[in-house]
């Protein structure tokens, strides 16, 4: 398209990856399963689309293993819209991620919504040139994913339920812990970093039975000492800036404009809507309303107005009616 000597440029840097995430701020990323839905999403003002084979509600209903979408579907969606296209890979499935990178997907979601592939590790996201978004339920998960190279975090919520309670739970867990960091001293933060780093030990214990030392390799080429040091560093930065150092979206259960707005008022930088749009009665109207609710999240009179006449929301599920082992948020650590 352009005439350039590209050999001199820097690609896939931290600034480029986190910068891409910043361009999504105050936006809505919508799950789509085909080009037609992608066009509806784009037309409604979505900031990006997430290409997948089945929306979370269907994955939940059908059970069975859920994987990265068919590359053909992803390519068709990429051709259909000019906004960025994201796609999901299974937790730890770095080859699915390589495949998505080769397709030129704009961002990869290492997601608990599809079936986890690696029981021990998440993907080493620093090895990729394209940015990743990862789910979290609390500060520990967020910090580990950021250390592993995630350029964006989303609270997990409970996907495919149309029930906002878990999304709010996870955002509040994050907020409270970030606020709590403020009153922690250096030693307390170091102890917390140790606790967060220790989550990597389980895999080592099971895999090698090795006694853990500073030099023990915890994650790829990184030993315990390095992990601890870098997680401390991230925690200290969070303590200082009083937010995550990367963009933080909400996900998992957003079904109405008010749901989207409450997540924004709780401090999210934007929202992912999975089943909430295309499992509702009128996807076009609902998509547009949710986009507007994210922009005007602090204007109840506008939210009231845009919530009128948009058809029924998706049918929701009580979290208590989902057995713990079937809750998607339990996936990943």
């Amino acid at each position: 398209m352009v005439n350039l000597d590209i050999s001199k440029f820097k690609y896939g840097t931290y600034k480029l990856k986190t910068g891409f995430a910043k361009m999504q701020k105050n936006g809505v990323v919508m799950d789509v399963t085909n080009p037609e839905q992608a066009l509806i999403a784009e037309e409604s003002g979505a900031v990006a689309v997430m290409a997948l084979e089945r929306v979370p509600a269907d994955i939940r209903a059908q059970g069975s293993v859920a994987r990265m979408a068919d590359p053909l579907i992803i390519e068709k969606i990429m051709d259909a819209v000019s906004i960025p296209v994201m796609a999901k890979v299974r937790i730890g499935h770095f080859v699915e991620a390589q495949v998505l990178e080769s397709l030129g997907v704009d961002m990869i979601d290492e997601s608990e919504v599809v079936t986890p592939a690696d029981p021990f590790y998440h993907i080493n996201k620093n090895k990729f040139n394209i940015p990743f978004v990862c789910g979290c339920r609390n500060l520990g998960e967020a910090v580990r994913r950021i250390w592993e190279g995630a350029a964006m975090i989303r609270t997990k919520g409970e996907a495919g339920t149309g029930n906002i309670i878990e999304a709010i739970r996870h955002q509040r867990m994050l907020n409270n812990m970030i606020r709590f960091l403020k009153i922690m001293d250096e030693n307390e933060i170091y102890d917390l970093a140790r606790k967060y780093s220790d989550s990597y030990l389980d895999a080592i214990k099971i895999l090698t039975g090795e006694k853990i030392k500073d030099e023990t390799l915890l994650f790829d080429e990184y030993n315990y000492r390095i992990v601890l040091k870098e997680i401390s560093k991230i925690l200290n930065e969070i303590k200082q800036i009083q937010r995550l150092p990367v963009v933080n979206f909400a996900a998992g259960g957003i079904a109405t404009p008010s749901d989207a707005a409450i997540m924004m008022q709780l401090g999210s930088d934007g929202v992912f809507v999975g089943s909430g749009i295309f499992k509702s009665e009128n996807p076009e109207k609902r998509a547009r309303a949710i986009v507007q609710a994210v922009t005007h999240y602090d204007k109840p009179e506008i939210i009231a107005d845009i919530s009128k006449n948009i058809g029924n929301a998706m049918v929701g599920i009580e979290i208590d009616n989902i057995p713990k082992e079937q809750r998607l948020q339990e996936r990943g650590w």
């Binding site: 398209m1 352009v2 005439n3 350039l4 000597d5 590209i6 001199k8 440029f9 820097k10 690609y11 840097t13 600034k15 480029l16 910068g19 891409f20 910043k22 361009m23 999504q24 701020k25 105050n26 936006g27 784009e42 003002g45 979505a46 900031v47 990006a48 990429m78 000019s82 906004i83 960025p84 990178e101 030129g104 997907v105 704009d106 961002m107 040139n129 394209i130 940015p131 986009v291 922009t295 005007h296």
Partner: protein, 204 residues
Amino acid sequence: MVISLNIGIIGIQGAISEHVHLMNKIFKINHINGKIFFIKNKFEIKSIDALIIPGGESTTISKFLLNFGIYDEILNRINENDLPIMGTCAGCVLLSNEIANETKEISLLKAMDMKVIRNAFGRQRESFENDIFINVLEKPFNAIFIRAPIIEKVWGKCDVISKIDNNIIMARQDKYLALSFHPELTNDLRIHEYFLEIIEDHLK
């Protein structure tokens, strides 16, 4: 030096707070009684001295400008010839007169005599950073290009300010400044300071 200054930034979507952060830094360093605030409705356009259109998704931002009547208000100010505007990335697209090979509808502000190509370098995988030379700055600038547009050509009173190889990435036309990269993602204040000079010249 201006006594007081109101800068609006389209506060719909994208890297907004980053611009606010840089501009506030400049106000503080230079003891300018300035304010920069988010614009989310059309009424706020009337009272501002200058406007920033940030990076984000140009289709998304353009839809909002249109749906909430902000687009018409900006056009009015452009027609009255009294609103300095800086557009970064998506903002650069919106300031242009023409978009190349575009099938989709984006409502352009047509403030600058230039034609842009959206996502000209490709997708996020092809996003890059590089030190560039800018005519109006002494030292190189670390420019961050994210799914960036390029300015295919300029005409009339629009001047090229920076190029990468043969591709135009920054242009100025009177009080309008367009760049295809993201100065707000760096800590370098020089481009925002340059925009402030444009605003001050205009207000003189």
